[in-house]
């Protein structure tokens, strides 16, 4: 083990020990406000077996995960091609940009109330808001990715007699791929933030529903369980995206 990893591990263990001692053993901190490790364990066991806020942990987590994946996919499928088109044609960019510039400064979370007015608390409202959140980074990075492709490569392609279509397909899009994935990673992060916010504002099921119910019940240990689950799922989906990136862009250097 590298010394850096060892020090990091030791710090985390020490912090956990201090937390355990301060809450479970010495009772220094008010457990109505700050959960102890034991409380979190109990809350975790409760939601795993008996369920909380309308379901056990696995269905709640899968429900949120499904919405994030759905919203993210819709955003990726619509945002990346739009960004690529904007990168390829300055005319198309000029035509689309005004609408984009008007919408872009509005934080995705500010769409939540409008989505509720339009679609209520249905799943479609959440997918719509996630789409708004994840769309912008996907577009911007695909656009920049196309624009930043090395001019020499394009010229080389032309000299060797490649048609416009082949240059787009074989030079520009592969060249933009690393940047496109950077955008998708930002999109994924935005998807999770937005989903949590949307479910906190109003939801029937899901991890945000767990968080808001736990807040109303003043149940800090359950809040912690909800947060940990969100963080783990966020890390998991990012890892999956990394694996896909390694498949699609094997030449990218890390």
């Amino acid at each position: 083990m590298k010394p850096k990893t060892a020090i990091g591990l030791a710090t985390v263990l020490l912090l956990l020990l201090a937390w355990y001692l301060a809450t479970d053993v010495a009772g220094l901190i008010d457990r109505q406000r700050f959960p102890s490790l034991g409380d979190i364990w109990t809350a975790g066991a409760q939601i795993m077996t008996r369920g909380y806020a309308g379901g056990t942990l696995v269905p709640q987590a899968l429900y949120s995960l499904r919405l994030v994946v759905l919203g993210f996919l819709v955003a990726a499928v619509s945002g990346v091609p739009l960004g690529i088109l904007m990168g390829l044609s300055r005319r198309f960019e000029a035509l689309v940009n005004p609408a984009f510039l008007l919408v872009r400064p509005i934080p995705p979370l500010a769409w939540i109330p409008l989505a509720i007015v339009w679609l209520g608390l249905a799943d479609s409202a959440k997918v719509l808001v996630i789409w708004f959140a994840a769309f912008v980074p996907a577009v911007i990075n695909s656009h920049t990715g196309i624009r930043n492709v090395d001019r020499t490569l394009i010229a080389a392609g032309r000299v060797h007699g490649a048609s416009q279509a082949r240059i787009v397909w074989d030079v520009l899009i592969p060249g933009a791929m690393p940047m496109i994935f950077t955008g998708l990673r930002l999109s994924l992060q935005a998807s999770w933030t937005t989903l949590v916010a949307a479910e906190l504002v109003g939801a029937v099921l899901g991890l945000g529903k767990v968080l808001s119910t736990a807040y109303r019940d003043i149940y800090p240990a359950m809040i912690a369980v909800g947060m940990i689950t969100v963080a783990l799922l966020g890390a998991l989906t990012t890892k999956v995206l990394d694996l896909i990136e390694r498949r699609v862009v094997p030449w990218r250097q890390y």
């Binding site: 985390v12 509005i106 934080p107 500010a110 409008l114 906190l200 807040y215």
Partner: protein
């Protein structure tokens, strides 16, 4: 000459296309609103939104005028963002300076980064209430990570000999950080602050949607529960505009600082 002319013509064509794009956006919206395909309670026309915005500037809605709500939100944002910058930048620089601190804090920080800022809302409300403390904590959690990360990366960009030279000449750790690392890392620090400012503003809106009962995010919620989409859209425009102004101000500051302190890599 011909090239210049065609460049001018090209630029004019692009400007015309942009105007056409904007006209299409508002035209489509207007058509959709007056066509009767969608109800007024779903999509008001641009004119109705403008009227709602102007009305809210004079008549109080949800306890305050729209400027008053924006000012309340901005005040909270400034506190949370100021706190995140005041804690995050020194922490990032110190992590860049002391390897031990870096090794200790990094894993905790990595774990923290995976938690969506909005997931802190319940704890923030529970610990610090929903008046000032809670929202400030949510803004802090949103803005903190980019402040730390960019200060840390910036500190690594500073040449090691500069640090060693300062130490040889007898500067203490605090002095090295304040007078060598900070100026060297400044361009990176400022871009981190800009990203953090945006995320902080966004997190605040989330907090105001969920638990806080004042500020521009609260106007959004009130518009929603009154089924008044024109108020919601007007408030969204106010949120977007304020965020844009914050961003422009920080971009200008960033450009100045880059000119003054930037070492082009």
């Amino acid at each position: 000459m011909a090239a210049i002319l065609s460049a001018v013509r090209g630029r004019r064509e692009l400007a015309l296309l942009s105007l056409l794009g904007a006209a299409l956006f508002f035209g489509f919206w207007q058509m959709l609103a007056i066509s009767g395909l969608v109800s007024k309670f779903v999509l008001p026309s641009p004119g109705e939104v403008l009227i709602a915005a102007l009305t809210m500037m004079v008549e109080p809605f949800a306890g305050n005028t729209i400027q008053g709500h924006v000012a309340a939100s901005l005040g909270r944002w400034a506190m949370g963002f100021g706190l995140a910058a005041a804690v995050g930048v020194p922490l990032g620089l110190a992590m860049g300076y002391w390897r031990l601190l870096d090794a200790m804090v990094s894993p905790v920080f990595e774990a923290y980064r995976y938690i969506a800022p909005l997931a802190w809302v319940p704890f923030a409300a529970l610990w610090f209430g929903t008046g000032i403390g809670g929202p400030v904590m949510v803004i802090f959690t949103g803005a903190f990570a980019p402040c730390v990360l960019n200060a840390y990366r910036g500190a690594h960009l500073v040449e090691r000999h500069l640090v060693e030279a300062a130490r040889t000449l007898g500067a203490g750790s605090v002095r090295v950080m304040a007078e060598v690392l900070l100026p060297g890392a400044l361009p990176s620090v400022v871009s981190g602050l800009r990203v953090g400012a945006g995320l902080g503003w966004q997190s605040l809106i989330g907090a105001e949607l969920i638990v806080v009962s004042s500020g521009i995010g609260y106007v959004l919620v009130q518009g929603q529960s009154n089924l008044a989409p024109e108020i919601v859209i007007a408030a969204m425009a106010a949120v977007g505009l304020t965020g844009l102004l914050i961003d422009i101000a920080l971009r200008l500051a960033e450009a100045r600082i880059r000119r003054r302190w930037g070492q082009t890599p």
